[in-house]
């Protein structure tokens, strides 16, 4: 938990941001390091969340086949664990700084402000999605129908929005009080919640006509992961599943946001603790919620919202788990969003900023499209933040080997690093172009008939994150070479 320091009223944006994170400016001391247990508990708690009730069903609705789902998740989650263990954790234990301070050294304070501002926006969106998950469960005892986006509900009913407002206000109020106790509570919930997911999935298998575990593969292929998309959803293949499960936390691992966590690790090997989050949350829980969704639809029911499918599979315990899963993850997310927004406000008090973030969260919760397109939102979010993680990686490991100066912006006292700016937005816009040329109508129309080489490149958002990593590394390294060559005398002087 942070203890916020208050800079003077006339302080600049950068000074206010620095003051906000002042408490963790120094590398973590040796006596503050933690062992495996802490990281296992942390990952198990954070990755079995409300959104797991959304993502498993999304895969079913996108018509993924059983083989593609099980094998794709296995490969994707393994890649995610390796990304934490081999990319993020080694950097974290070497520098022992938060992402904020590491970025500041490499990119300069201006880019760090931009990073914080966009991060606040995405955190509000995610918190809104989690509130929406919780409300889908709370609405059931009140007999308030959940919005059905597939059936064309663009906004929920007024009573549903009123519930979202109440839940949002409670979450914002708790976030103002701090989230330490709620973070602890979410860790207490983790073992129980994992079992609720698992138990609910098993209980509904009988409804799907399974005679025993040996029969599971037949039922999985014929009735759960049929390979046929539902409604107007596009078809997902094994590549979508690998890409999505690997990169849904791209900002945290290859994007290096979890430097903030792993700076407390005794060894980089503790990055492998992420396997507990991935294989409990993003493997078992996604499979379980996918099974729940399929069984729910097989009963002839419609609108497989988190609350509806949890009630169907686990009764009151399922409803409670959805509410808790949504609430405990929305709370720290909103707290962090408030922290990130605080910098852009004229020294507003924490409660004001958190309530401002809360308003955005509640509005987001009332837009059913957010959960219906959660996979897309996560894709954009990964694409946007990932290059910064790539810069940190090359700056720490590659630059010394190439004879380049690491932490150049800090050493040259630059307010903004132009190589980082160009490489960040350059690689982002190139990737968005390749996605948008077939998916944004205005861009397709503007381009007209595409040359054959361009038309041959047809890709999804998730497939672009890995190429973006390499492109951003190449651009950043190349631009840094030019920068450091032309400014060599400046550094020598300093």
């Amino acid at each position: 938990m942070s203890t916020t320091q208050h800079p003077p009223a006339n302080a600049s944006l950068v000074e206010r941001l620095d003051a906000l994170y002042e408490y963790d400016r120094e590398p973590v001391a040796e006596n503050k390091l933690h062992g495996w247990k802490t990281f296992i508990a942390m990952f198990s708690g954070e990755h079995v969340a409300g959104t797991e009730f959304v993502l498993g069903p999304l895969m079913v609705l996108h018509g993924v086949s059983a083989f593609d789902f099980f094998v794709g998740l296995l490969i994707g989650n393994t890649l995610a664990v390796l990304s934490w263990a081999l990319l993020c954790a080694p950097v974290a234990v070497k520098v022992r700084l938060t992402i904020y301070w590491q970025l500041r050294k490499i990119c300069g304070p201006y880019l760090t402000v931009i990073y914080s501002a966009f991060y606040a926006v995405i955190l509000c969106l995610l918190a809104g999605s989690m509130v929406s998950v919780a409300v889908t469960a709370i609405s059931i005892p009140f007999d308030i129908p959940n919005p059905n986006y597939i059936a064309g509900d663009v906004i929920p009913t007024v009573p549903w929005m009123f519930l979202a407002l109440v839940v949002g206000i409670v979450i914002a109020a708790l976030a103002v009080l701090g989230f330490d106790k709620i973070a602890h509570f979410s860790k207490i919930c983790a073992p129980w919640m994992v079992l609720v997911f698992f138990a609910a999935g098993i209980a509904v298998l009988a409804d799907l006509g399974t005679n025993g575990f040996t029969d599971f593969s037949r039922v999985a292929t014929e009735k759960i992961f049929t390979g046929i998309p539902i409604g107007n959803n596009s078809k997902y293949t094994i590549w979508h599943i690998i890409g999505f499960s690997w990169l849904c936390n791209a900002t945290q691992h290859i994007g290096m946001a979890d430097l903030t966590i792993f700076r407390y690790a005794k060894s980089w090997k503790q990055g492998f603790a992420s396997a507990f989050g991935m294989f409990l949350g993003h493997y078992m829980a996604w499979i379980a919620s996918g099974i729940l969704c399929a069984a729910f639809l097989a009963e002839g029911l419609t609108n497989p919202q988190p609350g509806n499918i949890a009630l169907f599979g686990a009764g009151a315990a399922g409803l409670i788990s959805v509410v808790i899963a949504g609430w405990t993850t929305a709370n720290p997310t909103l707290y962090r969003a408030g922290l990130a927004i605080q910098v852009a406000t004229p020294n507003w008090k924490r409660w004001k900023v958190t309530f401002l973030a809360g308003v955005f969260m509640i509005i987001t919760a009332c837009i059913p499209a957010v959960n219906a397109y959660l996979d897309r939102i996560i894709g954009y979010y990964g694409l946007f933040f990932m290059p910064l993680g790539a810069f940190i990686f090359v700056d720490v490991w590659l630059f010394p080997k190439l004879g380049l100066i690491s932490d150049y912006a800090e050493k040259a006292k630059l307010l903004i690093s132009w190589p980082a700016t160009l490489a960040w937005f350059g690689s982002l816009f190139i990737m968005i172009f390749f996605y948008g040329k077939d998916n944004y109508e205005w861009l397709s129309n503007w381009l007209g008939e595409q040359p054959s080489w361009l038309a041959a490149i047809q890709t999804d958002l998730m497939f672009l994150i890995a190429p973006e990593w390499f492109l951003s590394v190449l651009m950043y390294t190349g631009f840094s070479m030019i920068q450091q060559k032309s400014e060599a005398s400046k550094i020598a002087l300093s």
Binding site: M1, H34, K37, T38, A41, M42, D180, A183, H184, F185, K187, I188, P191, W192, L195, V196, F198, A199, A200, I202, A203, L205, A206, T210, G212, I261, Y264, A314, G315, A316, A317, G318, I320
Partner: protein, 59 residues
């Protein structure tokens, strides 16, 4: 006292998982499963907060 609390928590977890397996094998129906799972929730949350440590990084 801690041991008793841990045993209660364990019973809570067992009541969360085992009834689902019994539904799967056709031993009990879903309404009994739901009732036992609800009891499991109560037992878990009445006991676990008193013995589970807070693995906060700042602690």
């Amino acid at each position: 006292m801690k041991t008793i609390l841990k045993i209660i928590s364990l019973i809570g977890l067992i009541l969360t998982l085992v009834p689902a397996l019994l539904v799967f094998y056709g031993v009990i129906d879903k309404s009994t499963d739901f009732m036992l799972m609800t009891i499991g929730v109560v037992l878990w949350f009445a006991s676990a907060p008193f013995w589970m440590k807070n693995p906060s990084l700042d602690s």
